[in-house]
């Protein structure tokens, strides 16, 4: 019985950790998208005419989304695999 409880707790802890890691990227992306909706004028790609080079290249809400995408695609999958392997 106690072994089963320990196993269940370990599984729960693992699922909470993997959920937290897999949520970091999407949450960051959601933050960037929310910012874009709150301040659409910051997305100069929507109205590029007459914008300078830096205004077109550096668009903060898109940078936030980019960080989220990068983390979700490059860091999170391997990390989740390693968490599962470590706790197996």
């Amino acid at each position: 019985m106690s072994t089963q409880l320990v196993t269940e707790r370990a599984a729960l802890r693992r699922s909470v950790r993997t959920l937290a890691i897999s949520a970091l990227g999407p949450l960051t992306m959601a933050g960037g998208v929310a910012w874009a909706f709150l301040q659409p004028y910051r997305i100069t790609l929507l109205h590029p005419h007459g914008q300078g080079f830096w205004w077109l290249v550096i668009e903060p809400p898109l940078l936030v989304v980019l960080v989220g995408v990068g983390f979700a695609l490059l860091v999170a999958p391997g990390l989740i695999a390693d968490v599962e392997e470590a706790e197996r």
Binding site: Y41, I58, V64, L79, D82
Partner: protein, 194 residues
């Protein structure tokens, strides 16, 4: 072709955000799991070191007073020091865990430099407000990596540092060259930019 200062702040904010996410994930999984893949172990210290290196051109091209230049120079040095110390620990060239004290040192030096080099009050303009807020955040936030040196397995202290870096990123993203703060903008601050 030099970008206005606010764009540079947004680029560094992106770096701090990525740094914060990596450290948050590391706090969730623990150092052992995080360091299982070599590239991942080197990821955040390299990023911190690179941000320190990139701070030098910012110091050279974007500062318009001695105190401003010294502040940027001190940030460059402490970021490079903290990144290099962590790289040394990961690589195994450094052994003492006390090298991790370079992180609270970096935050306290950065916070102090931010507070000293801002000559205006909180509500002078948005950039002045952010200098004060960033300075105090860095100074108070230095407690987290300091405690983590002595309690390295505690997720509270590790995730605290990560969240401090995310907050720093949010504040840097809020920066504008000349903009009001809570409706206040000093008439001597200059004409408001978009």
């Amino acid at each position: 072709m030099e970008p206005p200062a606010q764009f540079v702040h947004w680029m560094f904010a992106t770096g701090f955000l990525l740094l914060g996410l990596c450290l948050l994930a590391k706090a969730f999984v623990g150092e052992e799991v995080w360091n299982r893949r070599a590239w991942r172990a080197y990821l955040w210290p390299s990023l911190l070191f690179a941000m320190g290196v990139l701070m030098w051109p910012v110091m050279v091209f974007f500062t318009n007073s001695t105190i401003h230049m010294l502040a940027h120079g001190s940030w460059a040095q402490v970021m490079m020091l903290a990144g290099a110390a962590e790289l040394g620990l990961v690589r195994g060239k450094l052994h003492s865990p006390y090298w991790r004290l370079t992180m609270p040192l970096a935050l306290s030096v950065s916070g102090t430099a931010l507070l000293i080099h801002e000559q205006n009050g909180w509500l002078f303009a948005r950039s002045a407000f952010l200098h004060h807020a960033l300075g105090w955040t860095a100074l108070v936030g230095a407690i987290f990596p300091l405690a983590a040196v002595f309690r390295p397995r505690s997720p509270v202290w590790s995730s605290g540092l990560a969240l401090v870096l995310v907050v720093v990123a949010v504040m840097l993203y809020s920066d504008r060259d000349v903009a009001p703060i809570f409706g206040h903008l000093s008439p001597v601050a200059g004409e408001q930019h978009r």
